[in-house]
């Protein structure tokens, strides 16, 4: 089960600095934990997060086992024109998830 929560202001004035928040559901298994029988639980994390605006990269982050489960990230960008933000998470075992949000700049 995967689900992403994105928070982008619906409207902004040109030149406004807006905050974007993104959260996705993922266990972020560290690979350092053991079961009761002593077996290592294999690593299963999201390794990279990218945010693009109209195809251009706005922000990128590398995640590590030290990133908490259900990784949350917040960052800022300059609202210059109306358009669409695309979000992409990539991780172990072929994990891939995308989401998008639009903004209207007046």
């Amino acid at each position: 089960m995967t689900a992403a929560l994105i928070n982008v202001p619906k409207k902004a004035k040109a030149g406004d600095i807006i905050e974007i928040k993104a959260l996705t559901s993922h266990v972020m298994e560290t690979g350092y934990r053991h079961t009761a029988t002593g077996e290592v639980i294999p690593r299963d994390i999201i390794t990279s997060f990218t945010c693009r605006f109209e195809g251009d990269e706005v922000f990128r982050a590398d995640f590590f086992p030290a990133t908490a489960a259900n990784p949350f990230i917040s960052f800022f960008t300059n609202a210059s024109k109306s358009g669409k933000f695309d979000f992409e998470w990539i991780g172990d075992n072929g994990f891939s998830q995308t989401a998008s949000a639009s903004i209207t700049v007046e």
Binding site: T30, Y32, R33, V58, A61, D62, P65, A68, A69, N78
Partner: protein, 158 residues
């Protein structure tokens, strides 16, 4: 009548049992952990040996954390964020988790504000270091000490 705490057989046995009871806590197996050297190596991998100056970076993290599984963290850097003077990337390191990285964040000049928030896991009370790389190639850093009561990352599943 006076009673003195003389070492009797009963007292001795009681103390011995107490000591044995306390033993497992003392010899519990420590998980593999990153060391300050590993953190230094990870920092060198980012800076390439360039000097790192103190300042410009602000690291907001609670000084006392009850649960290391999810610790909110905000890093902000003083910067004009213009096309020729901006923060290229922010890197956060720890010294006692199993591996030394907490996160790498790559910014663009049009970010407007060089500030990033996320949530991290901390396996132990330790020092966190945040380093920012500016567009002119200089590196700036700050550190914060965090006390963690419940460790994360390596606890076993029951």
């Amino acid at each position: 009548m006076r009673r003195q705490p003389v070492p009797t057989r009963r007292r001795f046995l009681g103390l011995a049992a107490g000591a044995i009871g306390a033993l497992p806590a003392a010899i519990s197996v420590r998980p593999a952990e990153a060391t300050p050297e590993m953190m230094a190596t990870a920092i060198r991998a980012v800076t390439g040996g360039a000097p790192v100056q103190t300042g410009k970076v602000k690291l907001d993290i609670p000084p006392l954390v009850e649960n290391g599984n999810s610790v909110p963290m905000t890093v902000s850097v003083t910067s004009a964020m213009t096309a020729n003077d901006y923060v290229k990337s922010i890197h956060v390191f720890n010294e006692k988790n199993p591996q030394p990285n907490l996160g790498n964040f790559y910014l663009k000049p049009n970010a407007g504000r060089a500030q990033v928030s996320t949530r991290v896991r901390l396996a132990d009370s330790q020092k966190i270091t945040a380093i920012a790389k500016l567009s002119d190639g200089s590196f700036w850093s700050t550190t914060a000490d965090v006390v963690v009561t419940l460790a994360a990352c390596t606890e076993d599943v029951i």
